[in-house]
Symmetry: C2
Subunit: 112 residues, 2 copies
Amino acid sequence: MISISSDVIRGYNDTFILYLLLDGPSYGYEISKKIRERSEGKYMIKETTLYSAFTRMEKNGYIESFSQNAENGKRRTYYQITEAGLQYYREKQEEWTLTKDVVERFMRRITE
Amino acid sequence: MISISSDVIRGYNDTFILYLLLDGPSYGYEISKKIRERSEGKYMIKETTLYSAFTRMEKNGYIESFSQNAENGKRRTYYQITEAGLQYYREKQEEWTLTKDVVERFMRRITE
DNA sequence: CTATCGTACTATGTCTGTCGTAGTATATCT
DNA sequence: AGATATACTACGACAGACATAGTACGATAG
């Protein structure tokens, strides 16, 4: 069974997170679930990867956090995308187009 | 100017190398040039990345090396793909198909 | 005849996103 | 009462990519 290696997705976790934040503020657990759902279980972000991404991205100014009591009485840290984050997301899309094109030049059907 | 980050291509350098070795044995400098050419200058593998990839892939059994005097009198280390390397290349292709599908689910046109 | 450029590497250490493991804490379900 | 879901934090390890530096030789230019 072929699965997606972390090396391959490296550098795109941030993009996945930003994509989901385009719909409004969200938090760790929800984003994690949505990534799994949206990829139809083909990709699941690890908790530690996710939370360290939050830290990094906030430091880079791509997201902002605020704390709020959730409906279930729990304390949650919500994140929302910033203008810089939106810009970064756009750049990543352009980069993806380029990358896809390049990678596919190195794909070949092997007959045998 | 958007360029391809190393994080994005991470894990695909090996695939690029194997792709070129499908045509027969080759060596560092030549592979480096061919990657640049084939990607139309959009991607250039760093020397250190390339040679460390050779070492790793040989250890993994994906390539085999032999030393030979080149036409110009220089000594070169040639690499050729193995059966395991071919298998690995096929798996990477499958993984790519999956990855591409997943990444594109997180791409969205932003209207504004 | 000397300097530069292209070729063909090797050595060494750093960076960083990801991951493994572990732990904390509360709410809800069985 | 114990399991499960939620919502995190801490800490260290891993590995591919990279920066920097150095070696060595042949061909070419001035």
